[in-house]
Symmetry: C2
């Protein structure tokens, strides 16, 4: 008898090939009964599911690449740690590549580095468009992380507009009326490494102000070159030096918020009494800053788990010769963590 | 005429093959005269030095791997960024792998991930010994980064004992007499991810106290599980809760120092008036913390430049069929940066 294939398992278990693949890849959303049926069929047929065997067939290496803009950015470092843990749980090795949001670097990664040692890519692209991924990424399974809306490819993100709206509503609910956002696109500057993030988060800020009946002044979105600590500190310093007196500052990431806390301290302004501050990302440093930082906490473990699931799925489908899966968008949870910078508990 | 080789260039220029390799790899320590002679010989012979060609010969891929313990650790993220910039300047692509200081992960990396897509490794090992590298790393060029003394392999680091001595002397010079260090090895716990660092930095602390005629109490080296922010915060909290009243705290890295600042703030102690704090690594967050953090600043750009130089050198020697180079130790500069946490300027 010929070596049993995934379709033989599916037929015997009375399920689809996709469901067999889900069981093999240890997905969560398979009922216990279905899982048992598939496992029994696998046993009966002697279908080989061991990882080493799967890697060897069709030249699989068991290596995936994680493509990130900046490695010295706390948020990406923390996401990478979750992705690596999740991938290793599935017997995959992760190699990380930094693109600095450079289009050429992103294309090189999409091309598998001109070699064939990676089975697939998890990618947080900033310069590439969905069309690039669709047109040029055909030969490698790819899953995208991040804020840009990518219709043509698998994509995992939190609901950034909703999250920023909630953070703004928290400030409005404290009675703050003169709220500025830090992290707009710098006019005339180079395309910041965070265009998509700035776009979707600024939209949430604007929507929340409008819902609250507060005026939205585009000048109250302070532009930055990069989403980094010194940029946040400098943007707020310029704004205060011009004589503005905001009572709340919404920073579109935590690193800019940490710079903002520093600037407010240097100007003798109390946080949150004079100015309340909110960040975004829930990086470790914001839990220990003085004051500690209120922030939007994406479920980073869920980002990692779902992204690796989608990629493993796509790699397995390709290895089994199944037709390519349609692009999938997955939204993972977030929550607002209230700390000292907006009057939360110590 | 046969394709000219590096030995033909060396003969014509009247220099060693090593010198030709240095010029090709754009080293700094070659005189202008020698460099000109080598370039002229390269031109006359039509020796091909273009990078693509060099990568293709002998199966070179132009990819090196950077092997680090933890990607969500600010210091490693910053070093990685420097290494990547330096490697890219030389046309090399860097892939980063996280080991979590696990011996099996480090061995897998040393083995080139069971494949042949990397030309060499830059590695910050915590579980492997020099003997491992000598015995098991034979087939790939390797350069080590970090604090462990590694006699059997290329190695780049700052003088950690001297640096910690200077940091301690700075506290003694401020009149502080009751100085504790944070970052000792936890007794009975798992081997911390930083054994070598704890060893060499604790030695510098002890030596400085003895030189100053101050008592050295091993109990004043507070043990931690990991060199991370929560560990630093918790170790100092335990120490203060036991009734101790130090007037200075030397943290063996910045992340623990940021946790220490938080604990002192929660206990209502003023920094530096009541307790002075020093860190190590000069990570970005310490420039913006409240108060800003005095720290030992390793020249990270130099670490990266020298490490990539040594590796490129070793890869080139191998590609040219030269005998293996003997192990080289390189010490790069550091300096103490005095900020608010020890009374420095705002």
């Amino acid at each position: 008898m010929a070596r049993p294939r995934i379709k033989d398992v599916a037929r015997l278990a009375g399920v689809s090939e996709k469901t067999v693949s889900n069981v093999i890849n240890d997905y969560e959303h398979v009922s216990d009964r279905t899982r048992a049926a598939v496992r029994q069929a696998i046993d009966e047929l002697g279908y080989r599911v061991n990882l080493a065997g799967r890697h060897l067939r069709r030249g699989r290496t068991g290596i995936i690449a994680l493509i990130l803009p900046e490695l010295d950015f706390s948020y990406f470092g923390e996401v990478a740690t979750h992705v690596i843990a999740e991938a290793e749980r599935r017997g995959l090795t992760v190699l990380v590549h930094q693109t600095l949001a450079d289009r050429q670097h992103e294309l090189t990664a999409l091309d598998g580095f001109g070699s064939d040692f990676v089975d697939g890519l998890l990618m947080s692209p900033l310069a590439l468009t969905a069309d690039d991924v669709a047109e040029r990424g055909g030969h490698l399974p790819v899953v995208l992380l991040g804020e840009l809306i990518q219709e043509g490819a698998d994509h995992v993100a939190i609901d950034n507009v909703l999250a920023t709206r909630e953070a703004t509503e928290h400030l409005v609910g404290m009675g703050r009326r003169s709220i500025v956002a830090v992290g707009g696109k710098e006019a005339g500057g180079p395309e910041p490494a965070t265009t998509g993030t700035a776009q979707v988060r600024t939209r949430g800020f604007r929507e929340a102000l409008q819902t609250a009946g507060l005026p939205y002044d585009p000048a109250a979105v302070l532009p930055v070159r990069q989403f980094r600590t010194p940029d946040g500190a400098a943007a707020v310093e310029r704004y205060l030096a011009a004589g503005h007196k905001p009572d709340a500052i919404l920073c579109l990431n935590d690193q800019m918020a940490l710079g903002t806390l520093r600037t407010l301290h240097e100007r003798g302004l109390r946080v949150p009494e004079d100015v309340a501050v909110v960040g975004f990302d829930d990086v470790e440093a914001g839990r220990f800053s003085v004051p500690s930082l209120t922030t939007v906490a994406p479920d980073k473990a869920a980002v990692a788990r779902v992204a690796v699931e989608l990629l493993v799925d796509r790699i397995a489908a390709r290895a089994e010769g199944l037709p390519p899966l349609p692009p999938r968008n997955r939204v993972v949870p977030h929550r607002l963590v209230v700390r000292e910078s907006t009057g939360g508990p110590r």
